[in-house]
Symmetry: D2
Subunit: 345 residues, 4 copies
C-alpha cells in the first residue's frame, strides 16, 4: 500500500485528489494539511466525502509527511518548492499539482509567477507528468511536475500532428475554454455566479502562464525547436470541463496524411486518451468526473487541421493525472483508482 | 426634472438604478458616490452602461448631495441612517434600498442587523415603499424604506388573502428561491459559480433578516395583529429572479371564496402586479429585467391556498421599486422610466 | 455473477444504469434493448461509456431476456407490465424503474397514467423498492417497483417523523425542485435550455403522479392511515439533483422530541442515507452522481419541523436505488457497485 | 406611424421583434401571423408581453399584410421568398430575418438550404442589412436580407482590418460560440437543458450555412475578392449571447498599424458598435438584451490580430438589427426603439 500525504487540501484539486484516493485500492491516506483548517474534519468542508474518510486537516508541522511514500502538493504556486528538498532527501516522492517544477527556464518561472525559485537545481530533475507524451520518464520518478489543465488539453491535441511533422509548428492556435473550477476555490468577485453565469468572455489576451508551459512542451514534442502556439483562454459558465479548439496549418505531408489514422495510431492502446470517430465533436460532459481526454480531428479545408479536445480540468487536467503519474512512479497499474465512468448527463 | 444622487453605486442595486435612471425621462443624474472608486468612470466598472452615461464615481464629500432633489442609498446596511438626518434637513428626499428604515422596532433592528440605530426618531417617519400595498403614504413622502426583495414577493402574494381574512394569519409558509445577484456584488466563496452552479440548497433556516420584515408588514396588512410566516429561502443557480411558493390554510370564508377573483380584484388597475390566469405557474424569466411581479393563485386541496409569485430581485425587488416610489414621491407618472418589457427568453 | 438485461436503455435512467452496472463487480451485462436503436453501439449514443462497454442495442425479440437473472425496465410507463408476466414465469426477476407496479390501487393507476393495467394481480406481489424503509421484503424479491425520484426524497424525509408519531400526518407539505434530467431524455420545447435555463418555476399544481405514490407510501409508514402530503414540484435549471423542503406540524410528542436524534437513530447504520449535523443545509451537488441521500432536520419554530433532503434524481432517485434493490434481491452486499463518491464541485 | 406586420411570430426572433416593437414610438403593430396558433393571444404564448399588447396570432390569409408598410419575416427559411413578390408588388417593404435573400448565388442557396429559390430575380434587389457596413443602400430599401447572427459578429470584427488591407484575407479564422436561443424555439433533444447544460462543444465542423454568408460578405468588404474565413461555431450553455474570437494574420501594413485606432476610426460615430478600450475582453452579458456589439482588438504577437466581438444573438444578431434596418428604410432615427441599456448582471 502506498502511504499518501496531501499538502493543501482545501482547494478543488485537493478535494478531487481526496475523491479519487479514498477509493484507490492501493493507497492509504495518511495526512492532509491545512494551516487554516487544522483540526477541521475534511468532510465538514467537503460534505461530498461524508462516509468516505475520517481524516481531519492537520497543521503541516504535525503531518509527519516524511513518513509518507508520496506527497501531493495541491497548494498555490511557490509552496512545493519550499518543502520539496527536505522531503526528497527523506526519500519521499512528490507530485506537485502547482507550477513550481513545470517551467525549465528559471527566467520564465520568475516572469510568469513573479517569484524567485527556491530550488532551481531540482527543476532539472522534475519529470513533466503527461504520461501519454512521456511515460518512460515517469516510471520510478521521484519528483513530478503535474501539467496545467490547459496545457494537458493543448499538448494532447497537437502532439500527433507535431511529432509527425504534419503541421507548421510556428503557426499554432489554441482557442480554449474552461469551467470556473479551473480558477480554483477562491473568494473573488470575478468568479461569482452573478458575474460569470449566463455569460462568456475571453481573458489573458496579454499572456497566460499556461502559454509558456505549452510552448516549452511543444518544443519537446516537435522535431524542430521553434514551436509556438497562440493561446487564448475563455471562461465558461459551467463548473467543470475544458474544451480546446486547436488550429494548425498543414504541411504538404500533413495535407496528404490521413489525420484520423494518425491520431488513432498515436494514441493506440492509451486508456485515457480517446480518439473519437471521424466527424465527432466531443462535449465536455462526455468526460465529466473521469480521467479521459476525448479528441476529434477535422480538416475543414485542405490546408488546415482543427483538433477538438475535451477533458475534466479537475481530473485529467489535475488530480486524475496526478494519480496516474503516481501509479507510474510506483509501478502499479497505471489506471488504478481511475476507472470512473464519466457522469453524463 | 428631478435631480438625483446615488450613494454607493458599485453594487448590483446601484448598477440597476443606473440602468433605469439613465433612461428615465424626468430624471437628471447628478452624482454617484463611491469612496473606493472615486474618479473611476461608471461605465468602466459597468461596461453595459457605455454610451449611456459619462458620470464618474465621486467621493461622498465631493458629491454635493444636498443639492439633489432625491438621494438613493444603494449601500450596505447602516450607511443611510448616518447621512439621512442632514440630507432631510437640507430638504433632500431619500429612498433607502438597504434596511435602515424598514424595521419599526429598534430592538428588532438591533437583533437582525447587529448595530445600534443612528436615528430612531426618523424610523417612525419612514414610509415602507411597497406602492401596491400602501400608495397613499408614498405620495409626497420624504423618506422611503424600500422593501427587501423577498418581502416584496411574499407580501404581494399573501396580501389579498390576508386582508380579506381568507387565511389563517398564524400559519403562513413562504418557500422562496432567489438568484445569486440577490446576495450582492461580493467576493465571497459561497457565491462563486463553482460553488453554486449546477446546485441548489436552502439557507438561513435559523432565521433571516427578511423574516422579521415580512412578519412586521404582514401585521400591517392583516386585520388581526398576529400574522406570522415561516420563511425558508433557497439559492438558485441563476443570476436574476425570485420565486415564492406561498402556502396558507384557508379559513371557512376562504374556502368559499373565489380566490382567482379575489386576486384580480385586489390588484385591479395595478400596472406592476400581474395576476396570471387561473392554472398558471409563472417562471422567473417572464419578469426578467422588468418591474412586474406576476402572481398565480391555486387551491390544490380544499383547505389550502398556494400562491406563486415571481419578480426580478433587482427590479421590482430593489431598484425598479425604488424608482416607482420616487415617481410617487414627486407626483409624476408612477410608471415613468419603468416600461421595460421583460427579457424572454 | 448476476446476468442482467436492460429494456429501454436510451433514456437517462438507462444510461445511468449502464454507468453503474459496467463497473459492478458481480454483474455481467447481457443485453440492452431498444427497438429504435437496434444495432447501434451503446457508446455511440452515450460517448461517456466509450471504453467501458462493447454492447449494442438489440431489438427486444433478439434480446433473450429470459436467460437473464434480472431485467431492469428503464422504459416509459406501461411497458414493464406487458412483459413482466412472461419473464417472471421464466424465472427472471424484475426491477421496474417506471411506475407500472408502484400504485397498489388500479383506479389510481388508471387515473394518473391513463391506461388500464395489464396485470393487476402482479401489482400485489410487487415490492416497493425503498430499502431504508422496507429492506426485509426486498431480500429475495422477484418483482420490485423502483420508487419515483420525488417520492424517494419525500418519504425518506418524512419517515422518521411519521413512524414515531411526531407530526400531524394530515398536514404535510413537500416543496420539491428537480433538475431537468428528471423529465427524461426527450425532445420537448419545455425542456429546451433556452426555455428553462436562467429561470425557475413550479408545475403540476393540479396534481402530479408522484403525489399519489407519496400518499400511498406515507400511509404505509405512518401508524395512522390518513397521511396526506401537499406536493408542489418545481423545475431547476440544472441537469441533476432533487431538493425537497418538507414542512410538518409537530404533535405535542414531536415538540418534546429531539428531532436530530430521532433522525440519527432512525437511519443509524444506513450507508445511503446521511443525516447531516444539526444546522445543516445540504446542497444537491453534495450527492451528485452518488447513491446517497443527505437529510437535515430543523425546527425553525416550536410547532414546525422543516426537513431538507437532497439526492441525485438519476442515482438514489432511479438507477442507483434500482441497483441497491437488485443487490438485496440477490443477497449480495447492498452497496456493491454503489460506492462512488459524490462529484463536487 | 409605420404599420407593421410580422409573419411567423412564434419563434424567438418573433418574440424579440415584439419586445422591441411594442415600445417603438413610431410603430403600430397591425398583425402577427401563425397558422398553428391562429386565435391565440400573443401574451398567452409569451407571458413576458402581458400588459404590452392585445394582439392575437392570425392565420396568414386573415392578416391583410398588404395594408402594412413593412412586413418582417421571422419564419423558417423558405417562407419569405414565397410571399415576397406579391407583397413587394403591393408596395409593402420587407425585412427577412431568415436566409432567403442573403446568398447572392442561387447555387450556394440551394447547396446550404436544400431548396430551390422561388424568386431569384429578387435576390439581386435585396439589400444586406448590416447598417454599419452598408448604410447607404438601406436608406429607402424595399427588401432587406437581415444578416445571420454569427455573420453579424464576424463581419463587424473583421471589417476594419479587411477594408484597410491590414490582414491576409485568405487566412481568417472565426472561433464563435452562441447561446442556445440561436438555434431557435424548437423541440429538439440536442437543445434540451439536460443535454446542453453544464457542457460545451463545437458543431458543424463540416460546414455551416453562416460560413457561406460570411465569405460572401467578406468579399464585399475587402478590396480583394479572395477573402475566406474558417468558421467554427460552438454551443454555449446560456440562453442569449454570441462571442466571436477572430484570428487574422497581419500584413506588413497591418503590423505597422495602430489597430486600436483603426477600429475606433472605422466605427466612429456608430451608436451600436462599441469599440472597447485597449486591453478589454468584453463579456456577452455586457450586451444582453441590447442592440450593441462590443469589440476589442488585440495583437498578442506581432503578426497576429485577435478581435473579440460580443452581441446578443436575438437583438443585434436578429430582431434589433431588423428594426435598425427598418428605421433606415423609412428614414427615421436609426436608433428609434433601440435605446435599451444592456441588462447586467
Amino acid at each position: 500500500v502506498i502511504e499518501v500525504g496531501i499538502v493543501g487540501g482545501t482547494g478543488y484539486t485537493g478535494a478531487e485528489l481526496l475523491r479519487l484516493l479514498v477509493r484507490h485500492p492501493q493507497v492509504a491516506l495518511r495526512a492532509i494539511t491545512s494551516r487554516g483548517e487544522a483540526g477541521t474534519r475534511v468532510d465538514v468542508m467537503f460534505p461530498s466525502l461524508r462516509g468516505h474518510t475520517d481524516l481531519s486537516f492537520v497543521a503541516p508541522e504535525q503531518a509527519q509527511l516524511q513518513r509518507c511514500d508520496v506527497v501531493f502538493f495541491a497548494t498555490p504556486h511557490g509552496v512545493a518548492m519550499q518543502q520539496a528538498p527536505a522531503l526528497l532527501a527523506a526519500g519521499v516522492r512528490i507530485v506537485d499539482l502547482a507550477a513550481d517544477f513545470r517551467l525549465r527556464d528559471p527566467g520564465e518561472f520568475r516572469r510568469w509567477y513573479r517569484m524567485e525559485h527556491a530550488c532551481e537545481d531540482l527543476v532539472a530533475q522534475a519529470v513533466y507528468g503527461l504520461p501519454e507524451l512521456g511515460r518512460a520518464a515517469l516510471r520510478g520518478a521521484r519528483l513530478v511536475a503535474n501539467p496545467g489543465c490547459y496545457p494537458t488539453a493543448v499538448l494532447l491535441g497537437f502532439a500527433p500532428l507535431l511529432r509527425e511533422g504534419l503541421v507548421d509548428p510556428s503557426m499554432l492556435i489554441a482557442n480554449c475554454a474552461s469551467g470556473a473550477s479551473g480558477s480554483g476555490r477562491r473568494a473573488e468577485l470575478r468568479l461569482a455566479l452573478a458575474e460569470t453565469g449566463e455569460s462568456f468572455h475571453a481573458y489573458a489576451l496579454d499572456g497566460h502562464r499556461h502559454g509558456a508551459e505549452i510552448d516549452q512542451q511543444l518544443r519537446v514534442i516537435g522535431p524542430q525547436g521553434n514551436a509556438h502556439c497562440l493561446f487564448v483562454p475563455h471562461l465558461l459558465p459551467i463548473v467543470r470541463g475544458i474544451h480546446s479548439t486547436l488550429y494548425a496549418r498543414l504541411t504538404p505531408a500533413g495535407q496528404r496524411a490521413d489525420l484520423q489514422r494518425a491520431f488513432e495510431t498515436f494514441y493506440s492502446g492509451e486508456r485515457f486518451v480517446d480518439v473519437m470517430p471521424a466527424g465527432s465533436a466531443p462535449a465536455t460532459r462526455s468526460v465529466r468526473a473521469s480521467n479521459v481526454a476525448r479528441i476529434a480531428v477535422h480538416r475543414p479545408q485542405p490546408d488546415t487541421a482543427v483538433v477538438l479536445v475535451v477533458l475534466d480540468n479537475l481530473v485529467k487536467g489535475a488530480a486524475g493525472q496526478a494519480v496516474q503519474c503516481m501509479n507510474l512512479m510506483f509501478g502499479i497499474d497505471e489506471g488504478s483508482g481511475l476507472e470512473q465512468v464519466a457522469v453524463m448527463p
